[in-house]
Subunit: 470 residues, 2 copies
């Protein structure tokens, strides 16, 4: 097993003390000694170093390795290191990064530093990087790399293999598991895997080998859709083409995995009732932590104050039948809980592309019976609880205990139904008006349902108990 | 753009009517006509067909294509079709699937059907499939395929390339972007990408080209950890080795993406306060929908009844100062909301491996100040709201309005702090006792915090208002 597989003693903890000593005394030996290590492990080690030693560590590595390590380095640390380096040093390391990672890293720098580094690139590299920087980072264009392998569709398999070998000798090609065939105008015509190329008899024309139905996307397609397509077709690379079908770049599967995880984190945090964080939780400062949470908490608290106004309306009833207050928390939380379940189901189904906007009525048809059954379940539990408590003398609900039990039970049927419907429809409503459906958080649904829950509860109480208790 | 990119008119809707006609009149033409299509698209089309036509459609395809389509087919439909086919037919199509998908498909069938089909496989294929079936499906062993490319470490680059070409000609090799080098005992010694192999000068010994630090895992590693490692190292394939480091199989990145999405869905549904569904939301029946939600709803409702007992204790105070009831929903929901935020942060950070069990005190150190600041924010809002309403005459809080505002404000500080701490610590507690931290759902946290919220609120009211209002 490689050292990293031992989770209890992370590689970095084992190596950092020795490394600090080497940096002090024999920096020239660091390159050879770390030669066989995966750049992701070197990045972990860099992250565990004291911040002021990271630059020295990167400088001790061969340029190519330093560039690879930068690709795996935590974003804020990467930005810090790049700002510390001179523009010439930064540019020479960044030239070794893949074009898409290089553009991403530049994007995080302040404009001035980025421009200084850009100015140090070779003209061709500079132009390529600037082209990539023009795309919105959250689209196919922003994700794609320009290091891909394309060959003329008129070649034979053997000629293509020679061309591919020449390209891979000329330099690192990130997206090289798939070979694209293009026509004389650079238009994407077909795709074949490197395996298919290697397996083919020597004389076969490429046009016979390649698949002509190529899954490709436009550069402005959102990263969510890019990840859905990559995952639906089990791709390792997704070609990006312009309106004339000219091949612009390729999105590789490792970037898609990052997108899927980012999107999952954002959705989870939004669903928890906050704005998505920009960095991992353990790295954010107190201020970001508070700011991302405080906004929604305040909005929700202000909305929840509506319930105070509703409560005021029923203060008369409450004064006469004080024991009704006992069940306020129960009816409120049951509405919120059923709403939270329905919302999480729908948001996730939307994120995976299982449910679309025009499916809303199908969802209603599912939630209506589900909500009624779940409501009856909770209603029965509460009904039983009140009668049992009364019978056992645990609490005296008075002569009208049966009607109180009916009130709470019926209220729960209505409230769970309203909760399920509100929770399932809110993501549709948000999506319809071009908001992120993931903003339909558990707390937001609960808050929306609370007002209805209290109104339903007291209305049923008023109907059933007036004349007797009220 | 390929047809699938038009989301408003899915490919399946365009093709199904024509296909039904073809199936009726010229089934033999379906193979050639769909030759260039991606099997994922063919699976979409199969899913859009009337259920009783799916079998005819698969039978009309060449066996190899039918096997590929099965790999992409929705699980329940795949199970249905395989059960309809004779064991001989099913076995001949399944032989064309990749070994890992074949084992997965068999796992979903009832034991009898699976055994009948297994009996029809070639002996070698049968043994391989049975070996794969022995692994827990949620581990590296359950995910891996046995179609990988390994070569003797003593070969030269050119010899290895010849071997790789021979292997790829001999049949489909799923995990073939990476070449593993092994010693005479089948032990994993190194790894190199197909690119590195193609780029190397002819005479180079493989041992010089291959990376000796190979990221590999044991077959019993959980699928979550498999996906974390694959994503950390940007791998397209992760080798699985036994205790002697013999190469058993390889987990490919497309399966890792499926795992990441499955885990994300499970976590989202659990966080919404329910058990994870076994199938996509739009495919589950009413009964599963109700069962997966009803259990937790009932548990939460029963727990929430604890609040009724707490409310009873404060009924005296509530009777004397009825207007305190107005703010019960606000204090309850604020505690729940802050708890839900903290929980979603920690669960997600744990799922991504950013936070570990022994980080709990670091989290406390972050949540303590954050909770206090957020509590002060909400407290200030409520305090202001009461005084403003009172001043504007929107509601008459009486002569002690200031103390009521202080009560509600102070209660919120305490409640938001308790909410943040409870919400952030519950996932640690669950993980410590080997439960899934994702079970710390928003509703569960809210329910736990509700009892404290009401107690804190009435205790502060009792302290501050006794002698005046109480």
């Amino acid at each position: 097993m490689p050292p990293h597989a031992n989770k209890d003693r992370p590689l970095a903890a084992l190596i950092v003390p020795d490394l600090l000593e080497l940096l002090e005394e024999h920096p020239e030996s660091i390159g050879p000694q770390t030669e066989e290590m995966h750049p992701a492990d070197l990045a972990d080690i860099a992250e565990a170093l004291p911040e002021d030693m990271v630059r020295a560590f990167l400088s001790a590595l061969p340029k190519e390795r330093a560039g690879e390590v930068l690709e795996y380095l935590d974003e804020s640390l990467r930005t810090m290191v790049l700002e510390e380096l001179t523009a010439v040093e930064a540019a020479s390391i960044m030239s070794e990064m893949t074009p898409d990672e290089r553009a991403d890293a530049l994007e995080e720098l302040d404009d001035e530093t980025a421009d200084e580094i850009l100015a140090e690139f070779e003209p061709e590299e500079k132009a390529e990087t600037e082209r990539l920087l023009e795309y919105d980072p959250y689209t196919a264009g922003g994700l794609m790399t320009t290091e891909f392998v394309s060959v003329d569709e008129n070649l034979t398999a053997e000629e293509a293999l020679v061309a591919v070998r020449a390209m891979s000798r000329a330099g690192r090609r990130e997206a090289m598991y798939t070979v694209y065939t293009i026509d004389g105008n650079g238009r994407l015509r077909g795709v074949l895997s490197l395996r298919e190329l290697l397996a083919s008899p020597d004389g076969t024309p490429l046009s016979e080998l390649a698949w002509s139905e190529v899954v490709s996307v436009a550069p402005d397609l959102s990263q969510e859709e890019v990840s859905q397509i990559t995952s639906n077709y089990d791709l390792v690379a997704l070609p990006v083409v312009d309106a004339e079908k000219r091949l612009l770049g390729v999105v590789t599967v490792d970037d898609v995995i990052d997108v899927i995880q980012e999107e999952g984190t954002e959705d989870a945090q939004k669903f928890g009732g906050m704005e998505a964080l920009e960095e991992p939780y353990m790295q954010i400062g107190l201020w970001q932590n508070v700011r991302k949470r405080g906004g929604w908490l305040a909005v929700l608290a202000v909305s929840e104050m509506l319930t105070a106004s509703v409560m005021v309306r029923y203060e008369g009833e409450l004064g006469r039948v004080l024991l009704l207050s006992q069940f306020i928390p129960l009816v409120m939380s049951s509405g919120g809980n059923s709403g939270s379940q329905a919302t999480s189901l729908i948001i996730r189904a939307m994120a995976l592309g299982e449910v679309h906007l025009d499916d809303w009525w199908r969802v209603v048809l599912r939630e209506l019976p589900a909500g009624i059954i779940l409501g009856l379940l909770l209603g029965a539990i509460a009904f039983g609880r009140i009668l049992v408590w009364n019978a056992l003398g645990l609490y005296d609900y008075g002569p009208h205990s049966f009607m109180i039990a009916v009130t709470v039970g019926l209220a729960l049927v209505g409230i769970v139904l309203v909760g399920s419907l509100t929770g399932s429809m809110l993501p549709f409503l948000l999506k319809r008006f071009n908001f992120d459906p993931a903003s339909a958080s558990a707390p937001l649904v609960a808050t929306l349902v609370d007002v209805s829950a209290i109104s339903i509860y007291f209305s049923i109480a008023y109907l059933l108990l007036s004349g007797t208790l009220l």
